[in-house]
Every structure is written in structure tokens, then in C-alpha cells.
């Protein structure tokens, strides 16, 4: 089979699970994504923000529960 999933000459449609596996990009062979220090610290700041927001949501839901909305 061709990698498009069907043979044009026979116009045959094959379910991908029945087809020969296609070659994909092997991510494990790639080096880690290059990240500048600014990007790295931005991601850490993002993580801190996320933790804070999760706490706030729990507070909000708790207050709504106590106040009966």
C-alpha cells in the first residue's frame, strides 16, 4: 500500500489499522527542544500561576458551597 492509505491504481481504501505501518518522525531520536533562559523561566512562572489559580478555584468553590451560591 502507498502511504496515503489507498492504492490509486486499484482505488482501494484500507483501514489504517490493516495497513502497513507508516514511517513517522521519531521524536525520541531528536535532541531536547532548545529553550532560552527566558522561555524556561516563563514556563516556571506559568507553573506557579497555575498552582495559584488552582488554589483560588478551590477557595471559590468552597465559598460558593458555604454561601449556597
Amino acid at each position: 500500500m502507498k502511504k496515503s492509505g489507498f492504492c490509486k491504481e486499484y482505488a482501494m481504501v484500507v483501514h489504517p489499522l490493516d495497513d502497513i505501518p507508516e514511517e513517522k518522525v521519531d521524536v525520541s531520536k531528536l535532541p531536547p527542544m532548545p529553550m532560552t533562559r527566558a522561555v524556561r523561566w516563563s514556563l516556571i512562572a506559568l507553573r506557579s500561576y497555575l498552582v495559584l489559580m488552582i488554589v483560588l478555584v478551590f477557595v471559590k468553590v468552597f465559598l460558593m458551597g458555604v454561601g449556597g451560591r
Binding site: K2, K3, S4, G5, F6, Y10, A11, M12, V13, V14, H15, P16, L17, D18, D19, P21, E22, K24, V25, V27, S28, L30, P31, P32, M33, V39, L43, L46, R47, L50, L52, M53, I54, L56, V57, F58, V59, K60, V61, L63, M64, G65, R69
Partner: protein
């Protein structure tokens, strides 16, 4: 057509037939991820929005249509190019630290969301005067049975059938007899209603955004695409599948709002989706009540299977363990154990007496809305990674502009929520 489910190729006699057949072969992940998104939490959020604000928030659905499509289309590309799930890619490209954090986030929100699915089933059982102690375990057993056949195709077709049952929402909305002109007007003209921008409205808007574009969807669809082994040549069909799914989910979400509005416009107070279903019996007839209760259960089952699979796939990908619906339990014990553990534990949580179920449902949608910007930022970085996607599949500039706009809006909404919690006096209730 039945041969799709069998291991037999189908011969097409014309180009169009071939295209249609190929689409039918590829179709599934996009429709399922979008419709499973209309889960029990979404049902509760949309119907509450309709009950509280009438048809005034319908415009949000129209805005969320391109947003949800753009986010999901990116994971389709990543999945087809790499043949791996989203968690695996984050783990391999950003390293173990970020990979494990992302997995923790996903498992936490997914588990809480799964609790809401069972909470909805509990509420339905209560309203039908059936014992939740029996109905919830039956639902758990059903969710386990869906995946334990070691066949991706069997699971997919069953799930697509459940998705198509949601067409009933359109029939329900039609029988509500709301003025079509008003529905169209409220869909295309953004407004916030007479009460202004209150704290409750902000909370509900974030919940709607959080329920329409949830982090688990990114992980689920990419893993689904990888497990189905979609090929480069399938990309355009997978995009169409995703677009159709996005349109379908937005229409169904709008229909849920219309149903919620119809309830309160008949003078009935809204409590939760199951109560709405029962009360709608007196508005639309007893058949509507039964259909709505079944739709509530359907939403919970759809969401339950998709969310549990997202967790199980992600766990397998990060741990490097086999994770596929094509494998049997002995071949992928970690994958099936995580799926089973999530389903059984969430089912057990809702059987705890006097748990504030409707509040948990709404709170989880907000949590998902807050976590989404982080997930989209990782997605944005990955979709600009030429080492993976090359020049052909990497994001175009317009993709990036749209993504950053989405991220900014999502952050603004979550900051509004933070402001509302810290300074509630500035937000009229």
C-alpha cells in the same frame, strides 16, 4: 460499507466514492473528542447558562467554534506526523520534569472531571427514584466493558453511535418552540444580558470556555489519532472530521442552552440537569423527560470513556508502557489498570453521601478553563518545532496569531476569576 469494521479493503469505483470511503475510515477521533466534550459537566454548564441568562450567551458558542477547531487541528497534525500521543511528545521534547507535571495536571483534572460524570449519573438515578448504589456500579461496568474487547474499531463505532444519539438534543431544542429569530440574533450579536458583568456571569463564562475546550481533549485526540495509526494522506480527512465534530458540538451545546432557557421561561426553577430533564416532562411531554434523562446518562458515558482513555494513554506514554485499545489486558496492563482505576474510584467518590454534586460539576469546568492556557502554550511551542513537523506541517504565522489571541483571552478570563475571588466587592452578585 460494513467492511470498514472488518479486515477487508474496500474497492472504490470513482474518485468521489474513494474520498467518501476514506473519510468514513478516518472519521472518529474528531467527532468523538468534540461530542464527548458535551459531557455531563458541559450539559450542566450549558443548561444552567440557558436557565440563568436565557439565550444571551449563545454568541459564546459561535466564538468557541473556531477556537476549539484550531486547538484540536494542531494535535491532529502532531499525532499524524509523530504517531505518538501528546503526553509522550511533551515528555520527550520538554524533558521528564515538564512531562511529569503535565501528566499530573492531566490526571488531576481528568479524575475530577470523571467524578462529575458519575455525579450526573447519580443525579439522574436520584430523579428517577432508582438506587444510585446500583446504577453507578452498572455505569462503571459499562465503561469497563467498552474498552476491554481489545479492538479500537469496536470501541470507536460504539462511541460514534453514542455521539449520534446526541442529535436528539436538536429535536428537543426544536420542540422547545423558542423564536428562531431570537436564537439567531443572540448567536451572532454578543451581549451579556440585563444584569451586567456579575461575578456569577464571569464564573459561568469561564466554565463555558473550560467545558468547550478542555485540556484532556488535546491529549485524547492525539492519542486517538496515534492509536488509529492515521497516515499523512489522512490529514485532510482528519481535519474535516474535526471540523464536523466542532460544528456538531457547538450546535448541541446551543441546544442545551435553549432547553435550559425553556425550563425557566415556563416558571420552573433550575436546580441541575437531571431535575431539568424531569421538569421538562411537564413542559414538553413525558417522552421528552425520558429522552432528556437518557441524554444525561449518554453525556456522562461519552465523557467518561474519553476522559479515562486520555488518562490511560497519557500514563502509558509517559511511562513508556504499552498503551493501545488494540492490545489485550495482559499486553497492556498499565493502560487498562489506569483506565479501570479512574472509572472505579470516580464511581466510588459520588456514592459518598451528601456530596455537593452540582457545585463540583461547575467548579471542575472552571478548573479546566484555568489549566487550558498552559496546555495551549505547550501546544504552541510544539507546533512551532520544525525538528518534529518540518516546514510542511509546522504552524503558519496565522496559526500563531490565532493561538496567541486564544491564550491572551484565556489568561484574561482566568485573571478575572482571580480578581473576583480576591476582590469580590468589585463584582456585583
Amino acid at each position: 460499507m460494513h467492511t470498514f469494521a472488518a479486515n477487508v479493503p474496500v474497492t472504490a469505483r470513482s474518485k468521489w466514492v474513494r474520498r467518501v470511503l476514506t473519510f468514513l475510515v478516518v472519521m472518529g477521533p474528531g467527532l468523538i473528542v468534540m461530542e464527548a466534550d458535551n459531557d455531563a459537566g458541559a450539559l450542566a454548564t450549558y443548561t444552567e447558562a440557558g436557565a440563568t441568562y436565557g439565550l444571551h450567551l449563545l454568541w459564546l458558542m459561535l466564538i468557541l467554534l473556531p477556537v476549539t477547531y484550531l486547538c484540536q487541528e494542531m494535535v491532529v497534525r502532531l499525532g499524524i506526523v509523530t504517531g505518538e500521543g501528546h503526553a509522550a511528545i511533551i515528555y520527550k521534547r520538554f524533558g521528564k520534569w515538564w512531562g511529569r507535571f503535565s501528566l499530573f495536571d492531566l490526571l488531576l483534572v481528568n479524575f475530577l472531571t470523571l467524578v462529575t460524570e458519575f455525579a450526573a449519573i447519580h443525579l439522574v438515578a436520584d430523579r428517577m427514584h432508582l438506587p444510585p448504589g446500583i446504577i453507578v456500579p452498572v455505569a462503571v461496568a459499562g465503561l469497563l466493558a467498552m474498552v476491554l474487547t481489545a479492538s479500537y474499531r469496536r470501541w470507536e463505532w460504539l462511541t460514534v453511535l453514542l455521539c449520534l444519539f446526541d442529535v436528539s438534543w436538536i429535536v428537543i431544542a426544536y420542540t422547545c418552540r423558542q423564536p428562531a429569530g431570537q436564537i439567531i440574533y443572540n448567536t451572532v450579536v454578543p451581549q451579556i444580558g440585563a444584569g451586567g458583568l456579575t461575578g456569577k456571569l464571569i464564573f459561568l463564562i469561564i466554565a463555558i470556555v473550560g467545558t468547550t475546550i478542555a485540556p484532556w481533549q488535546l491529549f485524547f485526540q492525539q492519542s486517538c489519532v496515534a492509536d488509529k495509526r492515521l497516515r499523512y494522506g489522512h490529514l485532510k480527512y482528519a481535519r474535516l472530521d474535526t471540523f464536523i465534530g466542532a460544528v456538531f458540538t457547538v450546535i448541541i451545546g446551543g441546544a442545551m442552552m435553549v432547553a435550559g432557557h425553556t425550563l425557566t421561561s415556563h416558571g420552573v426553577k433550575y436546580e441541575d440537569a437531571a431535575q431539568m430533564a424531569v421538569s421538562m416532562g411537564s413542559v414538553l411531554g413525558p417522552a421528552a423527560k425520558d429522552v432528556l434523562l437518557l441524554l444525561c446518562v449518554n453525556a456522562a458515558i461519552l465523557g467518561g470513556t474519553a476522559i479515562s482513555l486520555a488518562s490511560a494513554w497519557a500514563y502509558g506514554e509517559v511511562k513508556g508502557a504499552p498503551a493501545s485499545l488494540q492490545l489485550t489486558f495482559p499486553q497492556a496492563p498499565g493502560f487498562y489498570s489506569i483506565y479501570s482505576l479512574c472509572v472505579i474510584a470516580a464511581g466510588a467518590v459520588v456514592l459518598i453521601p451528601k456530596a455537593p454534586l452540582q457545585l463540583i460539576i461547575l467548579g471542575v469546568q472552571v478548573l479546566a478553563g484555568i489549566m487550558l492556557p498552559t496546555a495551549v502554550i505547550f501546544l504552541q511551542l510544539l507546533l512551532n518545532d520544525k525538528a518534529i513537523l518540518g516546514d510542511k506541517y509546522v504552524n503558519r504565522p496565522w496559526n500563531n496569531y490565532a493561538n496567541w489571541a486564544i491564550i491572551i483571552v484565556l489568561f484574561a478570563l482566568s485573571l478575572l476569576l482571580a480578581a473576583q475571588v480576591i476582590f469580590p466587592e468589585y463584582f456585583p452578585q
